[in-house]
Assembly symmetry: C2
Homo-oligomer: 379 residues x 2
């Protein structure tokens, strides 16, 4: 009821005033009128330009004008001006006249009594680890690409390997590809990779009854509620788990990825194994840095610092600014939801304290009604 969602925006700067925070926000131009657009996609069908579709892990294509993905909110088209030919076909096709090439960025100011940072995560960039071949070997994929391959409306409609459309018979997962690795600056465990790899392995086994899936791992971290049973089910389904460090990936003449592993036994035996497709279980790194925007500190790992981690894990070093989910460190969805609840509670308690104080300061009354600045921040 009293929630405002601003999309396609960037927070430029947050400053702290007497009564709370003021955020300067820049809304990027969509070149499509949000109110007029009905999401009918006629513009997409008319557009002659095809661009690799980031949402499909670049395995499929999208148009230069499009609704960014199937569940996007709002269901409104947007023009990617970097690839647009300015041919005007979308404008001609649009039944509501929503195309507007003259849109400019818009400046928005929001006042709030408190802030919760929930800026999510990105996957470890693998450029730093070229020996794993991501982006260079065509059948070495990242896990979000496999999510799309497995999705009913994915880029190919079924699970095929990218180089030649072959149905993969041997798939390998490389765990800790971008976590627990000092050389990448990611010394920590990313928490979610064991479980998403096992989940994908089981879905692959369901989609491709003849597939052999191998998971190369250091430790299987099935720590959450029901996780261990899930892992045991995967083993019972025949998914192979090999404790091994992966040194590098190459490929043979048929573009089959070859994984060079050091089996983690006392003899440290080195082996090479060939698969049809290899998935790198990438880790989690922060999606956003507060530098110059909001004066909260980040920790050594780049995530928002939570100085009272053990007793108040959603507090930042800034009074009135809280953090939830993967903005403070790798975390799965249920853990992020729990933290969101804890952050909301802390934020509400903070508002209640400051509300009382600021209102008393301003009018000398002990009345608890919120000031305007604070109302804007009320959940």
């Amino acid at each position: 009821e009293n929630i405002t969602i601003l999309t396609y925006c960037e927070v430029q700067q947050v400053s702290r005033g007497g009564e709370g925070f003021t955020a300067r926000i820049s809304k990027k131009p969509r070149y499509v009128d949000e109110v007029a657009c009905t999401g009918c996609r006629l513009c997409e069908y008319a557009c002659p330009v095809e661009v690799p579709h980031a949402f499909e892990g670049n395995l499929g294509a999208r148009k230069a004008i499009c609704v960014p993905f199937a569940n996007a909110f709002p269901q409104t088209a947007l023009i990617d001006l970097d690839h647009c030919l300015l041919c005007g076909r979308c404008e001609a096709a649009c039944p509501t006249g929503a195309i507007d090439f003259l849109q400019e960025p818009e400046e928005i100011e929001v006042k709030a009594g408190t802030i919760v940072i929930a800026t999510g995560f990105q996957m470890t960039p693998m450029e730093a680890k070229p020996e794993y071949g991501l982006g260079r070997l065509r059948n070495v994929l990242d896990p979000l690409q496999v999510e799309r391959l497995l999705a009913p409306h994915g880029p190919y409609g079924r699970v095929l390997r990218p180089s030649d459309g072959k149905v993969p018979e041997k798939v390998a997962y490389v765990q800790c590809a971008g976590s627990r690795d000092r050389s990448l600056g990611v010394p920590y465990c990313s928490r979610v990779c064991c479980m998403y790899a096992i989940k994908q392995a089981m879905l692959l086994a369901g989609a491709l009854p003849l597939v052999e899936v191998t998971i190369y791992y250091m430790d299987i971290r099935a720590f959450g509620k029901g996780f261990e049973q899930f892992y045991q089910n995967a083993k019972a389904m025949g998914i192979e788990f090999v404790k091994a460090k992966v040194a590098k990936n190459t490929e043979d003449a048929q573009q089959n990825p070859v994984v060079r592993i050091e089996v983690m036994e006392e003899d440290g035996r080195v082996e090479e194994r060939t698969h049809d497709m290899v998935v790198l279980s990438l880790g989690i790194v922060p999606a956003w840095q507060p530098d110059g925007v909001l004066s909260v500190e980040t920790a050594e790992d780049g995530f928002i610092r939570t100085p009272e981690l053990k007793i108040a894990p959603t507090r930042t070093n800034q009074e009135g600014v809280f953090v939830a989910g993967a903005a403070a460190g790798p975390k799965d969805i249920p853990d992020s939801i729990i933290e969101a609840g804890a952050a909301a509670l802390e934020a509400a308690a903070y508002l209640k304290r400051t509300r009382r104080t600021s209102y008393t300061d301003a009018t000398g009354s002990a009345n608890c009604a919120p000031s305007t600045a604070v109302q804007a921040g009320c959940p």
Copy 2:
């Protein structure tokens, strides 16, 4: 300010009325007047009876009358009537006349608008796994006993092994001793055992510079913030990690525990290794069953069932009853604190909803003031 703590009590029955919950609570007799007792411990010094001290893992002794442990709240003595000789020496020693052998159990009724279950955990009972020797082999300990050995005011004042007071030179940890084990009915991972074993191993290495610590494990689950770095530090300190399944523990003529392991390599080699002391990293099982007391459901694992685990992990199947911490599954302290925040938020939101409804129902007014029943439950 508006918090009431009832100690040495047991909830007998919680029933749901029109306006909330009513809990029938039984307060056990201490045989010591709580108001008169000053916690001076003169009664303890006078008592002639020594009983194994459960808080010290039965490694030390307490008296039949005592303040249960150093940080107990309240700091009030209590008589363990099962071991008391009724000699009356405590009564004679007490400067405030607080001893009262005639105390009876007391019945208390509490009304509340909402309930948060936070009943903690117990360690896996190891009677079901006699081959591990806990309770039978004197130098096979549980991790809470080692906490006490490491504590500055522990039973021996320093780390000695129980059978003969020798300073241990070789200590082993057996991980998953009571977790991930279908034969014990504990198929799940207990989350905390890897990290407490590593912590204790590092503290042992600090307390005993010459000690060799080996950790037999299946997977090291260092998934939390800073956990991986902690694990790497332990390896750098020289703590040995061996991926192995432990079959059983025996002891040699000097009561040195002998661990029979299956090294988890392809050859499945079986070895026996002798240590001075072995610690079983016991898992976590529920501390409390709601049967007959409160009509919330438990899951197959015995913990309180959270039917909306992924979106509202603190809700139980009973409206208005929430759960936090290890009552819903194994969890460490920071995770329990986050969940406590989330549960408090859910409970407050529930109170706000029911408050409005019940007050409106009763008086026809839309006023938001709480009913009496609800006030009692306000945080």
